[in-house]
Subunit: 541 residues, 2 copies
Amino acid sequence: MNLHGKNIIGDKLVAGGEESFRARSPLDNQPLEPDFYHASLANVDEAMELAESAFARFSATSGAARAVLLERIGEEIIALGDTLIERCHAETGLPKERLVGERARTVSQLGMFAALVREGSWVDARIDTAQPDRKPAPKPDLRRMLIPLGPVVVFGASNFPLAFSVAGGDTASALAAGCPVVVKAHEAHPGTSELVAMAIRAAVAATGLPPGVFSMLHGAGPVIGTALVKHSHTRAVGFTGSSAGGRALFDAAASRREPIPVFAEMSSLNPVFILPGALRERGEAIAEGLKVSVTLGVGQFCTKPGLFFGINGKDWDLLEQSLARLVEESLPGTMLHFGICESYQKLIAHAAETDGVDFVAKSKMHPNAAKTQGHTVIMKTSAHNFLQKAGLREEVFGPFALLVTSQSLAELETIALSLNGQLTATVHASPEDFREAALLLKILERKAGRLIINGFPTGVEVCPSMHHGGPYPATTDARFTSIGTAAVLRFARPVCFQNFANAYLPEALRNDNPLGIRRLVNGNPEIFKSPESDDLRNREC
Amino acid sequence: MNLHGKNIIGDKLVAGGEESFRARSPLDNQPLEPDFYHASLANVDEAMELAESAFARFSATSGAARAVLLERIGEEIIALGDTLIERCHAETGLPKERLVGERARTVSQLGMFAALVREGSWVDARIDTAQPDRKPAPKPDLRRMLIPLGPVVVFGASNFPLAFSVAGGDTASALAAGCPVVVKAHEAHPGTSELVAMAIRAAVAATGLPPGVFSMLHGAGPVIGTALVKHSHTRAVGFTGSSAGGRALFDAAASRREPIPVFAEMSSLNPVFILPGALRERGEAIAEGLKVSVTLGVGQFCTKPGLFFGINGKDWDLLEQSLARLVEESLPGTMLHFGICESYQKLIAHAAETDGVDFVAKSKMHPNAAKTQGHTVIMKTSAHNFLQKAGLREEVFGPFALLVTSQSLAELETIALSLNGQLTATVHASPEDFREAALLLKILERKAGRLIINGFPTGVEVCPSMHHGGPYPATTDARFTSIGTAAVLRFARPVCFQNFANAYLPEALRNDNPLGIRRLVNGNPEIFKSPESDDLRNREC
């Protein structure tokens, strides 16, 4: 493996500032070669200037051209072969088979956005034709579509080093929209980041686009990240990470002279409500599902369920026992990096010391600190206690969950009302349970971006109807998703063209609909007609 | 006319805090009866609690039910008859015929949103059906739609006392989305606000909705407004007004524990570029159009053009002369209130004192201070000077415009690049001009929300393709519009329903599409089939 460790600013490789760092493998806590160079503030400026200078040409490319870029990025990533998987495994400790799967998902996401922009209807074209004879005033011709915002800064996430990092969903959707991207690499997997960034760079070059379409900088601490967010050319920010980090970026963006949107996905406990009928009918299966969902990826998924709510009784006790048995047999796993593992141990210790919180079970096998391992831990408390302790509503990143015992459905509703914003909320319910669950579901609809019935929150589909977002503090903006085709909408804004001659309109808005996209014409879906009979085609304006 | 002067909190009329105020008519600078009572901070809390308590029921109403409410509000406003027009005229000085027109527009906006939500497709329903046999993991059933955000705070604008005030576009679109509204009345037209608020209250009662769906509070200065924005139940804010006011609300919202979106429309100079061919062909007509656009509503439109750019030469001199002649004949007009008039005089005086800025023309008739009159003023400067003086890029609210003379098209492009964000940008161009205007148009596309060819920015159509928004400081969020059907999108967020039984889904997402709306099913527009052959209808999930 030949890594250069440099910052990638368009087609230049730049050693950057004076400081350097090495990745440290969580598998053995040893540093990995080579040295990586932190970017300087001058590099931030260079990267953003280059992105800005590339914007005019890149934003004017067709959806088809951007689709070719996205697909080429996927091909270049695949072409990295085992080199990528090996390095990523060494840097993150994630199992190779998981990384192969995550790579497939990453390439598939790129392909999904390629298909979206090649098809083209995402620009939400709307046309209202002129009425020159309208009284009291003529109506002009008005046509609206989405255009890209401008350069986008993306922060790589540590927990999905491929699917939410350098070429992850944020980058893919920003490029799809027509926005140049500058990535701030996550310092936990700089080698993986470099490999993927070089793949993107190769794809940009191969498709003849300006190099400024993509850059990637290294940097520890908040200095480089904040400078990227504050840079006057930056028009939007994508981030997945901690609440403190996301909020700091949000605040930096909001305090700019020209505020810009920050799409930060930050923290979610993904509460699971298990109603009595479901518990009675399939308590054992639910316990098994919860255990799998909590331990998946050593509990480091943003959709890991961390709170289980049920009503006091024999079946709830049985679920606790089943879950305890399953958790005891679960194996400790290597966490993403030392900092996360240390933080996990502290948060568990803190929960254990909280008044009214009792230990339920943990992995029998002791975690190996030399391998940065975390072990599954389950605790429990009463609904009464949960309602009084705001600390129990904070995310514990890792394979931990808290069982909360209520006395009644009414108390479950009170708990639901007390929750912070979440990415997901899950309800296990039998048909009889449903007859009484309407209020609970309505409450959860206000608290979460995705409601799941009789399932588990981990395993996020990548498709048009996915919404991966939720009220604060799950994200900074519940109106947008970071997964699925709608993610592209984060990086676009509408522009209205009034009284433009057909030849000067963007293709998406021309009379003859050369892109063949879905459009709204005079308030109704456009009806595709033969060219001879097409009203719009024959219109002069 | 029988005005009570109280705050309207649902179905209660509340005298509020200890202070009161009277409206002052700009027509004669005399106070108008009765006293209006400022709300107290306790009233803010009451109004927001009531809005929150009404949300569950209101958000669950059908689009049809909300359409009935919106139409009823329109009917109640019409039923106020001349009382509304008289009071509004007295409070704002706007001519009665203009107010009759604005009332029609207000009612028509309500009707447009009624039609939008009655039809129902605005919720952007997307369905991805389950694939239980998919490998390696089954795909769950996923369905996504927009739901209302929660209580919305609306700040009435002074320049459209009907169409952008109590029952204006912000209120109409928030109610259409299913959000209760609390209006902070503009202190320049409290009587108009009360009349309209009572009309809304009557409509809420008549349609059997909970009273908390609508409240309106009075308050001077920032205290009540800030408290409304900071209230934990507030989920979004609509505002039209000054840059300082809008930014203060944005900052207040961004610094909340849970930040919320603020849609503030603040300031725009609506630059007009007049290219040589157009100038030669129809300079006189352009001068006439500019004069009309600048003086409309005594220059108090958010789309008033305040900057005219052209290239040095005989035709440009002729345009200046034509414009001067037209402006000299224009009559001074009563401005909305004393504060605006005073500020206008100060800003003109400041412009006149700016180095390199020369006087061109003003209304010959002297403005009558006792009638709060402002007169049209045109000044001019060089492009060179304009580029150096940031102050010349600040909005002058009133009938003022600055002619800026460039030496070349390249200099016009440089000027365009230097501009702040705008609601609109206009280009007058002949077919020959267009051959060289591509770069200018591309630059303006990044600066404005609406681009106008050979027209004038005032006169904003209310339709699906309108975009009334633009990059900061024109608005705080260029991605959203405050005019047209898309305005409803400001007050909604998506929720994804995973694995819900058909009976527990919202109607918009049910298999048989009972609302008959446009939906995306498995990535493609749903094809309406007869009930017998409908795939979705026969699906069990």
